[in-house]
Structures are given as structure tokens and as C-alpha cells.
């Protein structure tokens, strides 16, 4: 509804759309952003858009992981472009896994299901399906049970699976799952209050939620981190709040950090509406005096080179192979639970995959609607984003919000009450800076439910 309303209002205000143009690079220098470079899918042409100000709303990066609720288009493009251009990314270690994705598909079964009274069950609990009796969450969070925060429920599901109590009992978090039981709610509640969820279960899993439990597993859902911005959506170039003139971002690509280390359900849309608007207002103010900046004589040279290499370089590596390897290693080693060993393996694997990415070749030579080429470019973005996630997670030696280190299970406010800023420092090197967390009304405290 929000998306359609936005589209309709854009039509009303005669906003000019460049449909199916993929932005692949941003033109930034030491002071400001001067536009973007985009690839036109219909023609294969690379176009330069010189601009006084640019706003990024390119969304998250769910496709870094093998199980995700996110669209195929969500490949972290905006974050990767900024990172490549030497800008920092903030709090990339904080990735939200929603506890209830449809098994294998990752399609979201929203909180509404548990809000109405849905109960999670493991394999030892099958007799209780339809009874309305407590499931395994009752022991984890005795007061709120199945309505505990997303990160806690996701971890609880992983614990069940690891202990061999997943429905298949394989103990493999990649393939095993638990049940979401709605049966006791009855046909009326399920059909009238949970129409989307029951539609998904029926359509995609051929499961009838009125009589059968729904197989679910945690699914990569939301990026708390991203391009650091101030309250007016201005992108910051360092941890000292220096803005990049004319560069704005809001939504999932940005990290204004209203969600801290763990977003609460429904808050993303609030974030978008509030900070999208604030950024727009500040942009109009900025545009009143801004001048077109100086751009490189060949601002599209890098992108043209990349396209040329991918199409004509004769590379033998396959996009899908690398993508699947990345998604697997990130899901299993940089996912719901993390530790130093796994994160090191994840980081090293991503660095190897980035190396192999240079040998990727695209078979399709056509300039028109070359979706294979776009997918290859998106893989490059995904790998860079995956790298920043693994590196940021590796250095944060504590557990906070959605970032859960088995080897450092406690929150450590003394050392880690700060935001991570990661910047590219070389081909395979990153640098970290930190920014203190501003705490106003709500003091951090242990979460006990």
C-alpha cells in the first residue's frame, strides 16, 4: 500500500522515472557527490547523470545470505558503491534474522502469526499441535514466550535445531526447521486475520495452516547497518560527522541508527517515512545554493571497464557458483550465531571469492536486456558487502542485539558502546573507526523476558 501510494503520488507530481536503469557507481570526491553512473538495461548503454545532489534509497542486502525474505534485487548496491569509493559503512555486523521464514524459501511469515497466538514447536512437541499448549519458547522467555524479540526467537530456533530437536533432527541449521503451529486458532482467525500468511503457506508449501503446522526457519531480513547519515539524511564520510555535500540516503541502505543493533518490527517503514522526508527537505534547501561540481572527464571509465571485462574477458568462473558459495558461508558462519573461527573462515572465503570474481565471465554478449550481466555486477556488490559484514562481526568481540558471538556471549558496554565504521583501506584491507553511541532516554540494560 505504501509503495503504491508513493508511486501514485510520483505520477501526480510528474516525477520523471528512468525505469530499469541500474545505478552502478557514484561520483564522489573529497567534498561532494556529483552524480551517478547507470546502466540502461534496455540498450546496454552506460549513462552519466551529473547532479547537484543525489539521494540513495537502494535498500538492503538480504541476498548475501542463502535464506532471506528479501527480493532478488536487494544486493546491497548502494552500500557497495559507497564502500568502493572510500566512504565508510556503519554497524555492518548487525544483521536481523527474522525467526519465521518459510522453510527453504525464506518468505516472511510476519509477527502477526505469533501475535494472534501462533506457537513454535520442535519435534518433541508434535503431540501438542493444535492444543494451544506452550512450546519451547516458554522456557526461553517465560513472560512473553513466542513474542520475544526476533533475535531471541531466531537463536532459540537454532538452539533447538543444534540440540537435535529440529523437525528432521539433523542438527544442520542450513536444512533443518521447526514448526509454527496456528491450528488451535481455528479457521476463522486464520482466514480473516492472517490472510497473507495462510495464502503463502498454501501456495508455496502446499501446507493447510488450519490443520497443519507451517515449517519455518530463520531468514535474513533486515540490515541495521549501512551508509552513515545524520538526522537530515546527509551521508557522513567519517565518524566525526563530516557530511559528503549533496549525498543523501535513507531507508535500509542508510544507517541513521534509530534501530541500534536490532530493529523492532514495523519500525523500518516509520524510519523511511520520517527520514526520507527529512532528507528530501534538506536536499531542497541544499539545492537552492548548490552548483554543479567538477567531474572526471571519464566518470564512467571504471564501469565500462568492468562491463568489458565481464563480457569480453573470457573469464571462466560462473556467477551462480560463486553466489551460492558466498550465500552458504555467510548463512552458516556469519549468521544468527557467530564465533571467531567461523567468522574468520567466512571472511577468508569471501576474500577468495572476490579474487575468483575477477575471473567471472558472462556468456550473453547482447547489449539488450542483458540480465546475466546485471546479475554478475550485482554479485560484485554482494561480495563487497559480505566482506564488510564478516569483518565488522569479527572485530566486535561482544554480543549485542542481533550480533551474537558464542565466544563473547555478554554485552560489553565498557568497550563496545560504540558504532563501527568500516572503510576500505586496500584491495584486501579494511580500517575501523568508532563513534560513541548517543544515549538519551533509554539506558541499555539486559533484556529479560
Amino acid at each position: 500500500m505504501i509503495l503504491h501510494t508513493l508511486f501514485e503520488q510520483c505520477l501526480k507530481h510528474e516525477v520523471r522515472f528512468f525505469n530499469e536503469f541500474y545505478v552502478l557507481d557514484m561520483m564522489v570526491d573529497d567534498t561532494a557527490c556529483h552524480g551517478v553512473v547507470a546502466y540502461e538495461l534496455a540498450t546496454g548503454e552506460v549513462q552519466v547523470f551529473q547532479a547537484k545532489a543525489v539521494f540513495f534509497g537502494t535498500g538492503g542486502y538480504g541476498r548475501v545470505f542463502s535464506i532471506t525474505s528479501n527480493a532478488h534485487a536487494l544486493t546491497g548496491d548502494g552500500m557497495a558503491m559507497a564502500f568502493r569509493r572510500g566512504l565508510p559503512l556503519e554497524d555492518m555486523e548487525f544483521v536481523q534474522f527474522h525467526p519465521t521464514g518459510l522453510r527453504k524459501l525464506g518468505i516472511l511469515v510476519s509477527e502477526a502469526a505469533r501475535g494472534e497466538g501462533g506457537i513454535l514447536r520442535n519435534r518433541e512437541d508434535l503431540d501438542n499441535i493444535g492444543s494451544g499448549k506452550d512450546g519451547f519458547m516458554a522456557a526461553v522467555a517465560p513472560t512473553v514466550k513466542d513474542l520475544a524479540p526476533r533475535d531471541m526467537v531466531s537463536r532459540a530456533i537454532y538452539n533447538e535445531i543444534q540440540a537435535g530437536r529440529g523437525i528432521e533432527g539433523s542438527g544442520d541449521t542450513g536444512s533443518d526447521y521447526v514448526y509454527l503451529d496456528l491450528v488451535h486458532l481455528g479457521a476463522d482467525v486464520i482466514n480473516t486475520k492472517l490472510p497473507d500468511i495462510s495464502h503463502f503457506a498454501r501456495k508455496y508449501l502446499a501446507v493447510e495452516p488450519i490443520t497443519e503446522p507451517i515449517p519455518v526457519q530463520p531468514t535474513a531480513h533486515y540490515a541495521m547497518g549501512g551508509l552513515p547519515t545524520d538526522l537530515d539524511g546527509r551521508v557522513l564520510r567519517d565518524s566525526k560527522n563530516t557530511p559528503v555535500n549533496g549525498l543523501y540516503a535513507a531507508g535500509e541502505v542508510a544507517c541513521v541508527s534509530v534501530h541500534g543493533a536490532n530493529r523492532l518490527g514495523t519500525n523500518s517503514l516509520v524510519d523511511i517515512v520520517v527520514f526520507g522526508r527529512r532528507a528530501g527537505r534538506d536536499m531542497t534547501r541544499y539545492l537552492k545554493t548548490a552548483e554543479l561540481g567538477h567531474i572526471d572527464p571519464e566518470p564512467d571509465a571504471f564501469i565500462r571497464g568492468e562491463i568489458d571485462r565481464l563480457q569480453k574477458g573470457g573469464g571462466q568462473e560462473n556467477v551462480a557458483t560463486l553466489r551460492i558459495e558466498m550465500q552458504k558461508v555467510m548463512m552458516s558462519r556469519s549468521g544468527v550465531y557467530r564465533n571467531e573461527e567461523n567468522l574468520t573462515i567466512a571472511r577468508n572465503t569471501i576474500l577468495e571469492l572476490r579474487e575468483r570474481y575477477r575471473q567471472v565471465g558472462v556468456g550473453d554478449q547482447s547489449p539488450y536486456y542483458n540480465t546475466e550481466l546485471v546479475e554478475a555486477i550485482e554479485l560484485g556488490f554482494l561480495l563487497d558487502v559480505a566482506w564488510t559484514i564478516a569483518e565488522s562481526a569479527l572485530q566486535r568481540t561482544e554480543s549485542r542485539g542481533a550480533h551474537s558471538r558464542v565466544d563473547y556471549p555478554d554485552r560489553d558496554d565498557e568497550n563496545w558502546l560504540k558504532h563501527t565504521f568500516i572503510t576500505m583501506a586496500g584491495e584486501n584491507e579494511v580500517r575501523f573507526d568508532f563513534k560513541p553511541v548517543s544515549i538519551t532516554k533509554f539506558q541499555p540494560k539486559p533484556r529479560v523476558y
Binding site: L11, A71, Y204, N318, S366, N370, E372
Partner: protein, 231 residues
């Protein structure tokens, strides 16, 4: 199970077309979109089709699958009742390459019915309340994802590309029956026209094709009645 997948191919430059055939081992619960992506990943990367959300929300992967318009992401192999899967682009829209069609005329048609909210009053209001019953009247038509499956299944649209088509009527319905909206006049002018509502012969193809199960033909007859009553 083993399936034979026949995919329509069309060269973007020459317009030459053919079907490519792929034999795959699949799970009956696999979705057609997953099978297509696997073919693209493993057999032929050059197959061009649109996709994004992967669960029936964005409307980008409407195509003709075994003769019926549907979303590839929402169609399971077992829904097709057989081992032959034939995938073709939506009819009535120009094919740009393989399964990618030109959606511009579709969007242009939408524009003709002023497809945005026009407040009844000009006074600044913070919030305009609506009862549940008022909202129910047009709830069904708010579900449209503009995938084009309906319009491109309509014989009236195939024979005349100027015809506004069912998706545009759905959008018009969403606003005309919204108690807060005051933009009837402009919309009705476009609807009550040679290329508007009266070209609809209630063939029901659109209703059958809609992946959101919107009762499109019913919405169209509600619009027809509304316009006649206003005359």
C-alpha cells in the same frame, strides 16, 4: 520428477523467435521461477526475464505458463498437472526480448484515469477517517500489483491496444469507491468512452488471470453501474 521446459526466445534486434527446450529434474513443489533461475544459472544465462520479490508482491514476473497468465514465482510445478511446461511472454504487449515485454503502453493507459488520490476537500486535513465498511467497498481493488496479467489476457485488449484494459479499471475503482476521494469527474470522462468500460464484454479472462484473486469483472460492472446511475 522430470519435466520438459520450453522457453520462448526472441532476439531483441531481429525479432526472430524460437522455443528452447530444457529437461530438468525438479521437485513438484518447486516454483516455476526457481526452475527458470536454475536453467539460467546452469544451462543458458542469456534467457531474459524479469523478477524481484519472489513471492507475488512486486508483479514483475507475470508471464504465460501453459497458456495461462500467471506469476512464475507463485506457480508450483505441481499446479501445472503434467510434465510439460511451456513459458511464453504476456500477449498483446510488444516483446522486447525473450519473456520481457514493453510495459509502457500498460502504464500509459493507467495514467488516463488520474491514478492517484484526489482529496475531496482542499482544506488541509491531518487525517481523514474512514469506517471499516467504507474501506471494504474498495478493499479488493487495492490488492492490485500491476503485473499486467489481466490486461494481457483480454481479447478486447489484443484487438485494440487503445482499450484501457482491466488493470486500469481496477485502479479507477480503487479511487472512485474511496469515500475520501473527489476525483470522479476526470476519471469518468476516460472510462465512459469508446475505448473505456464499454469495450468490456465480461469475458472473465482477467478475473481468472489475476494472481491476487481480485474480482475484476465484478469491479468493472460496479463501475459501469455507477456511471450509468450518474447520467
Amino acid at each position: 520428477m522430470q519435466v520438459t521446459v520450453e522457453i520462448y526466445r526472441q532476439d531483441a534486434e531481429t525479432g526472430a523467435s524460437r522455443f528452447d527446450t530444457f529437461i530438468r529434474e525438479v521437485d513438484p513443489k518447486d516454483r516455476v521461477l526457481d526452475v527458470m533461475m536454475e536453467i539460467k544459472d546452469q544451462d543458458d544465462g542469456s534467457i531474459a526475464f524479469r523478477k524481484s520479490c519472489g513471492h507475488g508482491v512486486c508483479g514483475s514476473d507475470a508471464m504465460m505458463i501453459n497458456g495461462i497468465n500467471r506469476l512464475a514465482c507463485q506457480t508450483l510445478i505441481q499446479d501445472l498437472k503434467g510434465s510439460l511446461i511451456r513459458i511464453e511472454p504476456l500477449k498483446g504487449l510488444k516483446v522486447l526480448r525473450d519473456l520481457i515485454v514493453d510495459m509502457d503502453p500498460f502504464l500509459a493507459s493507467l495514467q488516463k484515469v488520474t491514478p492517484y488520490f484526489i482529496p475531496k476537500t482542499t482544506a488541509p486535513v491531518r487525517e481523514q477517517k474512514q469506517s471499516i465498511a467504507e474501506r471494504q467497498i474498495f478493499d479488493d481493488t487495492t490488492k492490485c500489483i500491476m503485473c499486467g496479467a489481466c490486461t494481457s489476457s483480454c481479447p478486447s485488449y489484443w484487438s485494440n491496444g487503445e482499450y484501457l484494459g482491466p488493470a486500469t479499471f481496477v485502479k479507477a475503482h480503487r479511487f472512485i469507491f474511496d469515500s475520501r476521494d473527489g476525483g470522479d469527474a476526470e476519471r469518468i470522462e476516460a472510462l465512459d468512452d469508446r475505448d473505456g468500460l464499454w469495450r468490456c464484454h465480461s469475458i472473465f479472462n482477467c478475473t481468472d488471470a489475476c494472481p491476487r484473486d481480485i474480482k475484476i469483472t465484478q469491479a468493472i460492472s460496479e463501475l459501469k453501474r455507477y456511471i450509468v446511475a450518474r447520467r
